[in-house]
């Protein structure tokens, strides 16, 4: 790429790197080379009139960071043309997945200036209910077909929702993925310890929620309100997903333990789950009525 001065080639070279980084990580030797290269080209003064090099390099660095965290794309099928196309497009039109909540709201601002909650969150949640998820055994526990989930993800990033989704487990898996992939955990790291300490005490647990930044508080309250529907006995009896199960499968999507010590991870898993269970059981979410 260094030797290409021809603009079109330069553009295509950057596109190619960006697209690769959407699907698989570099080898460890190539990794450090890429990082150096990206940081060398992050100055916008270097941009050519038609090739925004600094934008490419910043986006590529973001993708690289994310790829190193999540590993290569999972699933059986090779990437579809749609997915490859999306990987190119999203350099300039970022995805709703893996972004911060603030960026998700900025993304939808033009389409839905009035919305206070992410479109993707409410749309997928409603889709699960529409597909009778509240009466489906193992909802949120049983995974949706991974290829179908990937396909739905692409559609959502294009602001459409196919009307023929066969199975509530598909949007349910995608919704969990969206929460889990947020650039920053739904309950940000600085609140993590508070949650772990107060996992069984309703008052301080609710206090943690009230201390969250506005957007995090709204998104979390919407999620808890949504889970309260599923925790209702008439639903849990059919889904077999009682409040314990719901909290268990949702906690890892809301809280991220930073420790690498297996002992700490195990001990905290129980408390993370307890915290979410406490919220489902005690958080008054009636103020969310009508908020979209």
């Amino acid at each position: 790429m260094l030797f290409y001065t021809y603009r079109e080639s330069l553009q295509k070279g950057w596109e190619l790197i960006a697209m690769c980084l959407a699907f698989f990580p570099p080898t460890s030797q190539f990794h450090s080379y890429l990082e150096t290269y990206f940081s060398k080209h992050s100055d916008s003064l270097e941009d050519l009139p038609s090739v925004p090099i600094s934008h490419f390099s910043t986006q590529c660095q973001k993708r690289l960071d994310k790829m190193m965290q999540t590993g290569p794309k999972k699933g059986h099928r090779k990437p579809t043309l749609d997915e490859v196309e999306q990987a190119k497009k999203s350099v300039f039109y970022p995805s709703m997945f893996g972004s911060s909540l603030e960026d998700v709201l900025i993304l939808q601002n033009e389409r839905f200036p009035e919305r206070r909650l992410p479109w993707i969150q409410t749309t997928l949640s409603e889709e699960i209910l529409r597909l009778n998820g509240a009466q489906t055994e193992g909802i949120f526990r049983v995974p949706g077909d991974i290829d179908e989930v990937n396909a739905l993800k692409i559609k959502c990033d294009q602001w459409t929702l196919p009307s023929d989704c066969p199975d509530p487990h598909i949007p349910a898996s995608l919704l969990k993925l969206w929460y889990r992939e947020l650039a920053e955990p739904l309950i940000p790291a600085e609140f993590y310890e508070d949650c772990i300490e107060n996992y069984a005490n309703p008052e301080p647990a609710i206090e943690v929620v009230n201390k969250l930044p506005d957007i995090n508080r709204l998104v979390l309250a919407y999620l808890i309100r949504f889970l309260q529907v599923f925790a209702a006995p008439e639903n849990a009896a059919v889904t077999k997903m009682d409040v314990n199960n719901l909290a268990m499968v949702m906690a890892p999507n809301c809280l991220r333990c930073e420790s690498t010590d297996p002992k700490v991870i195990f001990e905290n898993t129980r408390k993370e789950m307890g915290f979410i269970r406490t919220l489902i059981q005690t958080l008054d979410t009636s103020f969310m009525e009508g908020i979209v």
């Binding site: 999540t70 590993g71 999972k74 699933g75 059986h76 193992g138 949120f140 526990r141 049983v142 995974p143 949706g144 077909d145 991974i146 290829d147 889990r180 077999k240 997903m241 314990n244 199960n245 268990m248 499968v249 890892p252 999507n253 991220r256 690498t260 010590d261 297996p262 991870i265 195990f266 898993t269 129980r270 789950m273």
Partner: protein, 204 residues
């Protein structure tokens, strides 16, 4: 023989949520089945002593939460495993499709010495609901394409073939453990006698 330390073998069970990982472990260790529908919290283990090749070994079987495939439990958890059991549900074909991802996840995290030779046992569970996996032949060929992989179809509910499957797990784990011990203490390197000989090109 009595003086030698008993082999302690670490086994990890992976697979999509709801395929019956916890139930399999419980059936094997406690010979019990519970109808309770309960997502596993993080990870938990049970142990059982078992005889392989006339040797008493202890299996430490780690059951894991299946629902968060991508939120891995961390490298330290997978390290030192002697065998990995991959479980799918014969009544839910898409759980078979996930075997690749689980196998890759394990190899990435545990990073055993020889990826292609590491022992796996694949279990298609819930044969009490459906006698034979629709994906039987697909699974068979998947297994034979992956090297050291055995395949069983079981029912954690009525116990069918569970004992056999885990006997194979123990057998493979012990072989792996023995292999590793050998590699950890390889035969000493023979240094050439005349160290002073000057370096003239390649000595081979």
């Amino acid at each position: 023989m009595e003086t030698r330390k008993r082999a302690f073998l670490k086994v990890i069970i992976l697979g999509d949520s709801g395929v019956g990982k916890t139930s399999l472990m419980n059936q094997y260790v406690n010979r019990r089945f519970s109808n309770e529908y309960k997502a596993t919290i993080g990870a938990d283990f049970l142990t059982r002593d078992v005889t392989v090749d006339n040797k008493l070994v202890t299996l430490q079987i780690w059951d894991t939460a299946g629902q968060e495939r991508f939120a891995s439990l961390g490298v330290a958890f997978y390290r030192g495993a002697d065998c990995c059991v991959l479980v799918y549900d014969v009544t839910a074909p898409n759980t078979m499709d996930s075997l690749d991802a689980w196998r890759n996840e394990f190899l990435e995290q545990a990073d055993p010495l020889h990826h292609d030779e590491f022992p796996f046992v694949v279990i298609g569970n819930k044969t009490d609901i459906q006698a034979k996996s629709e994906k039987n032949s697909v699974t068979q060929s998947w297994c034979s394409g992956k090297g050291n992989v055995s395949y069983f179809e079981t029912s954690a509910k009525n116990g069918s073939r569970v004992e056999e499957a885990f006997q194979t797990v123990a057998q493979k784990a012990l072989e792996q453990d023995t292999e590793l011990t050998k590699e950890a203490y390889p035969s000493p390197i023979q240094l050439p006698q005349d160290n002073n000989k000057s370096h003239e090109g390649c000595s081979c």
